[in-house]
Amino acid sequence: MAAAARRGTWRTHGISVEGYRHRREGLPCQDAWHEASAGPANARVTVLAVADGAGSRPYSDQGSKLAVRLATAYYTDRVAAAPPLGDRRGNLAESARAVHRLLADTFHEVRDEFLDRTRGDGSGRPDDYATTLTVVVLAPDWLGTVGVGDGFVILRAGSEDGKPQFHLLPQPAPASEYSNETVFLTSPEAPDWIHTACVRDADVDGVFLSTDGLAQAALSSAGNPRQEPNASFATAVFRSLDNPGPDPEEDNAALANLLRSDRLTALNADDKTLLRAVRR
């Protein structure tokens, strides 16, 4: 479940691997990722999406796949059709509001269609397809993220003393005291939990998004409740996309090995998804 592509100004790569429990029990991976691009070469929009199907729901593997495909389809369409931000450059606050609104409105469309499709002729139960969804939009002059659930997004932007700097985009407050409980696309309260963030920063030259299976590996609590990127993890996973080897399959296998390794399994036995983009 992996692919590499060169589209627009970003090189992307995504991968999902089944977690330890699913592997041991022969169950499918319930994570999914997808990416799509649209628009002319000089104003390309790339959309990245990851989803984590609920472990307790029977069709959540289908739910996560449906969610990422709907998200990439809707966001490429809506963002490519939106007026360029350049027209609003004079008013930062107004342009930010417009992007937040675009991200949230489109998310409602994605959710509505997800509920329609999983309901089918009326006999389906959308809850059986429960999944989180985290989306990143790489527009020509801004970057946005939107989602429900416990996925997360890390940016690479700027440097200090020649070393790249990593930033965890703001996350919604946890939905529960417990780390394995979150809000799903199908949750009745999901509209209240849609979380958006947007960035205008020409120095952003890398981004990755992930489901919560990699939270312990990619984030550091450093002994306090405030989470930060684990710089050694971010460095390594951006490095391998910045400087790909001659054989994409080998690169993919190396990353899959890391995600399936005992040292990552010990941190989190859940399915794992990593979707990366770096400027070419």
């Binding site: 509001r97 932007a157 930033h167 005291e177 609590s221 989470q227 990353l255 010990a266």
Partner: protein
């Protein structure tokens, strides 16, 4: 935040530790020991009625279970075990094989990968109520410690095992457990932990009624002393917790355990 542009100057910059490019491996990633924790408390009756075969069966089962935890890649990093015994010299917490003195500082929780089973001896009275009080207290304290350390956790599990009736320090039957009913109900309503209450051996109907009152959804009477199965059920429940299973899954696991089928792993 919503409605404005996020600015990286608002975030704390995090510097890459190693700018040297390495294509071939991810071996230089530093991982913290920040696995999601699953606190698990075994609250065990070691009173005089457990003397002989029951206590030796329990000791053997604990040793095997400790090894099984070590061998499970995921549980070994995630589960934290604390043991409380009631019997002998009263209610005591154990940090692995070491019995803690009353008031001794430090958590009794031990990471599963480092857990070694205590060696129990059976004697004394059945201070069941006080033992459950201590279980609730150490769970609340452990959650606070985990939060302060920025660590995420699953819903803790408490497993009570007894073959008798609650007594006072003189060994006289005590009804002090009555006050625990509403407390446990409120705590579980708030989902602060999950309590299993298991009666073993020759526990009386009156003893089972106590367990039913303490853990209405998750109480059981097992014939004999099938501690190995009991501990396997705790591991199965821990697995389900890690998978984010719904309440119905825990009920199924417990039902299979209660009816002594060995199929809960399926």
């Amino acid at each position: 935040m919503a409605g404005s542009w996020w600015d990286r100057d608002r975030s704390q910059d995090h510097t890459a530790p190693n700018p040297n490019v390495r294509h071939d491996a991810y071996a230089d990633i530093d991982f913290e020991n920040n696995a999601q924790r699953l606190p698990l408390v075994l609250c065990l009756d070691t009173s005089s009625s457990m003397a002989g075969l029951p206590i030796s069966t329990l000791n053997d089962a604990m040793r095997m279970w400790a090894q099984e935890l070590h061998d499970d890649v995921s549980l070994s990093a995630s589960v934290e075990v604390a043991v409380i015994t009631f019997g002998g010299i009263g209610v005591r917490a154990w940090r692995g094989p070491q019995m803690l003195a009353p008031g001794q500082p430090g958590t009794p929780f031990v990471p599963a990968h480092a857990f070694h089973a205590p060696q129990f001896e059976a004697a004394g009275v059945t201070l069941l109520t006080e033992a459950l009080d201590m279980a609730m207290q150490i769970v609340a304290e452990r959650k606070q410690e985990l939060r302060a350390a920025g660590l995420q956790y699953y819903r803790p599990q408490i497993c009570l095992m007894t073959d008798g009736l609650p007594t006072d320090t003189e060994g006289q039957l005590s009804d002090s457990w009555h006050r625990l009913g509403p407390v446990l109900a409120a705590e579980q309503e708030k989902r602060h932990f999950r309590l299993y209450a298991i009666g073993v051996g020759g526990i009386s109907q009156q003893g089972l009624d106590v367990l039913r009152a303490l853990a209405p959804a998750f109480h059981a009477h097992l014939h004999g002393f099938p501690f190995k199965q009991l501990l396997a059920m705790m591991s199965a429940s821990a697995n389900a917790e890690q998978k984010g299973a719904g309440d119905e899954v825990f009920e199924k696991i417990f039902h299979q355990f209660r009816t002594q089928r060995s199929a809960w792993e399926s």
